[in-house]
């Protein structure tokens, strides 16, 4: 798979070399397939003969050097001096990229396959009343946590979006004097460790006598959502051509009308993207909730009063139990979160695409 890249990327379709091209194609195909085939054969023959061959070791000290050597030889033969280097670059790039992709796909696949085992109607519809770490998966679910997450995230969104939009408008529309400072602070806030946000809400609210509730969790999510919303919406507003603003202002429009009737409609899908990405940022955030909310196995529909379960704390609690079934419940929760993130993400993409 690797060396064909060499060919497609630098081949020039000139006819006089057609013969040579054929030989080159052949060699390139051989060089890209042979090391892999040899490695697989070696592995199965060796295993059949009773040797214990570690795939990881074979990959690193068998396949990779062989692949590098093969690409090196073909590269040198057909492309001269720089062909050798290029071949190595291509092999290394593809090897590392594949490695990353395998890791990342493994995350997705684990969540989907393990989560699917736990996912069933009752998992969405029931709460965890009477459920312990070892109760069979037939019983109980994350419904109460899903409701909690939806409510808490909705509260955070309602509080954050006006602030985030306000900041973005300040940065792009009003020519505010403190633009540089505000941008720097937003940048700093986007690096705020989530656990520190939890500590902050704990120190400013819970230690002052507020009971931990869904609402305290919502507030702990706010500093994490705000930078995403304001940064993405700033970019969205900035994509609106200055000409349009000037067109509106030159008609004698006040700034706020120019924003409300010209800039905002033009940036609407970008602003929607900002909200969706902001929600995606916080929907699975765990550490601040662990510090600022309390576990609950029951459904609590009042985010301002009493303990309220949310998906991240639900998952966290069950993983900490370390029983097989409780970990499976954790996977189920992860799948629900990933579905939420995926939906938000696709929504953001679609919103963004519509504009173009």
């Amino acid at each position: 798979m690797t060396a064909t890249q060499v060919q497609t990327s630098t081949m020039k379709p000139t006819n006089p070399w057609a013969k040579r091209n054929k030989a080159r194609t052949r060699d390139v195909v051989i060089a890209s397939l042979l090391p892999g085939i040899l490695a697989v054969v070696f592995f199965f023959v060796g295993t059949a003969l009773g040797a214990t061959i570690d795939p990881a070791v074979l990959l690193i000290i068998g396949f990779l050097p062989a692949q590098l050597l093969a690409a090196f030889l073909v590269g040198r033969k057909y492309y001269g001096r720089h062909g050798r280097e290029d071949a190595l670059l291509i092999v290394v790039t593809i090897f590392l990229s594949t490695f990353v992709m395998v890791l990342l796909l493994s995350v997705l696949w684990s969540v989907i396959s393990a989560g699917a085992l736990a996912l069933r109607p009752s998992f969405i519809l029931q709460n965890s009343h009477y459920i312990s770490g070892t109760t069979s998966l037939e019983y109980g679910g994350a419904g109460h946590a899903i409701l909690g997450t939806v409510m808490a995230v909705a509260i955070t969104t309602i509080l954050t979006v006006p602030l985030g939009f306000g900041i973005a408008v300040y940065l792009t529309e009003t020519g505010g004097k403190a633009r540089g400072v505000i941008r720097t602070l937003i940048q700093a806030m986007s690096g705020l460790p989530s656990v520190v946000s939890g500590l902050f809400i704990y120190s400013i609210l819970v230690l002052q006598g507020w009971q931990p509730s869904g609402f305290t969790g919502s507030l702990a999510l706010l500093p994490l959502m705000l930078p995403t919303v304001s940064r993405v919406s700033e970019e969205a507003l900035r994509l609106v051509p200055v000409d349009l603003r000037n067109g509106a202002l030159a008609l004698g429009s006040p700034t706020w009308q120019a924003f409300a009737k010209v800039v905002f409609p033009a940036a609407r899908s970008g602003l929607l993207t900002a909200v969706l990405l902001g929600v995606a940022r916080i929907v699975g955030e765990t550490a601040p909730l662990v510090l600022t909310t309390t576990y609950n196995n029951d459904t609590n529909l009042n985010p301002f009063n009493g303990p309220m379960a949310m998906l991240p704390t639900f998952i966290f609690g069950y993983i900490r139990n370390m029983y097989d079934t409780s970990i499976q419940r954790g996977w189920g929760g992860c799948l629900v979160i990933m579905i939420l993130v995926g939906v938000l993400f696709v929504g953001a993409r679609v919103a963004n695409r519509k504009k173009k």
Binding site: S9, V169, L192, V290
Partner: protein, 326 residues
């Protein structure tokens, strides 16, 4: 009209956009309230954490940063975060060292090698993966990847164990080491570094790159002499962004790293470690008032550390991408 030689220039007036109508004044006022809220929020975070942390800083003194003991049942109580502080740095650095080549490769693959369709799919995937919550990565790292990584660690010990100190390990259990935490963290930050790097690659002058390849310089030479020098500032900025994220990472590390109050300088596959963030989560539930104060102090140390990193990274990115500033 006037001759060039005339030098009398009247005083310059600096013009600014000022709201004049009431509605505009309200509009400008509301936006600057929002903007100022971000200032207030940062100050509140620093202020309240510092206020709560102060007793701990006072009672522990400088050894809060350097000591290796955390004992809330001793009299007087001892709270020292030396191993955690170093552990945070070690895990984050390991994560970044692993993530950086992977991210650069992937970005190069997407921007300069892959066909358009594959590149689009890979880009979407990377962006989506950047949005995976850390609890998901934590569970994956603990339940799926952990055993694999432990096996890799055992291979490292078997084959490279002759190198003194670094690959030291005792016993059969290879879990809970900085090596595994670093790998898990690298999975978290690869997408971040990749998207920054990819964006920088995509903004490079395609004609220059293509011309260089067409002139027979070759891919590798072009990468070394044209692409890397142009993009290096941005890549470093992206790497620091990832480093900041790795330092603050909490839940994923909580599940894969043993918490031991003993400084593990560089025995990467030895199951001793801990980071400030994961320690806060694991100790917070049972903490009494003074221990909580010490945890607040740890939080503020962590925040200041990430602030420094993020300041450095935005400075470097700004230098590398002047077109982004305005």
């Amino acid at each position: 009209m006037s001759p060039q030689g005339e030098t009398k220039i009247p005083a310059k007036r600096q013009l600014v956009t000022k709201p004049s109508r009431t509605a505009d004044k309200v509009f400008f006022g509301l936006t600057s309230v929002a903007a100022n809220f971000s200032i207030v929020l940062i100050l509140l975070i620093l202020g309240f954490l510092l206020y709560q942390a102060w007793p701990a800083f006072q009672s522990q003194g400088f050894s809060f940063f350097s000591g290796e003991t955390w004992d809330s049942s001793a009299t007087p109580q001892i709270f020292q975060i030396g191993p955690m502080l170093w552990g945070s740095v070690l895990v984050a650095l390991l994560g970044m060292v692993i993530a950086l080549p992977l991210a650069i490769s992937l970005a190069y693959f997407i921007e300069f090698m892959a066909a358009k369709k594959i590149a689009a799919v890979a880009t979407t995937l990377v962006d989506l993966l950047a949005a995976i919550p850390s609890i998901v990565i934590g569970l994956w790292g603990f339940a799926v990847f952990g055993p694999v990584a432990q096996h890799w660690a055992s291979l490292l010990h078997d084959y490279l164990g002759w190198i003194p100190y670094v690959f030291y390990h005792e016993g059969a259990n290879y879990g809970g080491s900085p090596f595994i935490a670093g790998l898990v963290v690298s999975v978290m930050i690869v997408p971040i570094i990749t998207s920054v790097t990819r964006e920088i690659f995509s903004q490079m002058d395609r004609d220059v790159v293509n011309a260089s390849i067409a002139l027979g310089a070759g891919r590798a030479a072009t990468f070394r002499k044209v692409i890397l020098p142009t993009a290096s500032g941005g890549i470093v900025g992206g790497a620091l962004l990832g480093l900041g994220r790795a330092l603050g990472e909490t839940i994923a590390i909580f599940f894969v790293l043993n918490l031991v109050f003993h400084i593990n300088f560089f025995q990467v596959i030895n199951g001793e470690g801990g980071t400030v963030a994961s320690m806060i989560v694991s100790k917070f539930g049972e903490a009494d008032a003074s221990e909580r104060s010490a945890l607040m102090a740890s939080g503020i140390v962590l925040f200041v550390l990430t602030l420094l990193i993020s300041a450095l990274s935005s400075y470097i990115v700004k230098k590398a991408q002047p077109w982004r500033t305005n």
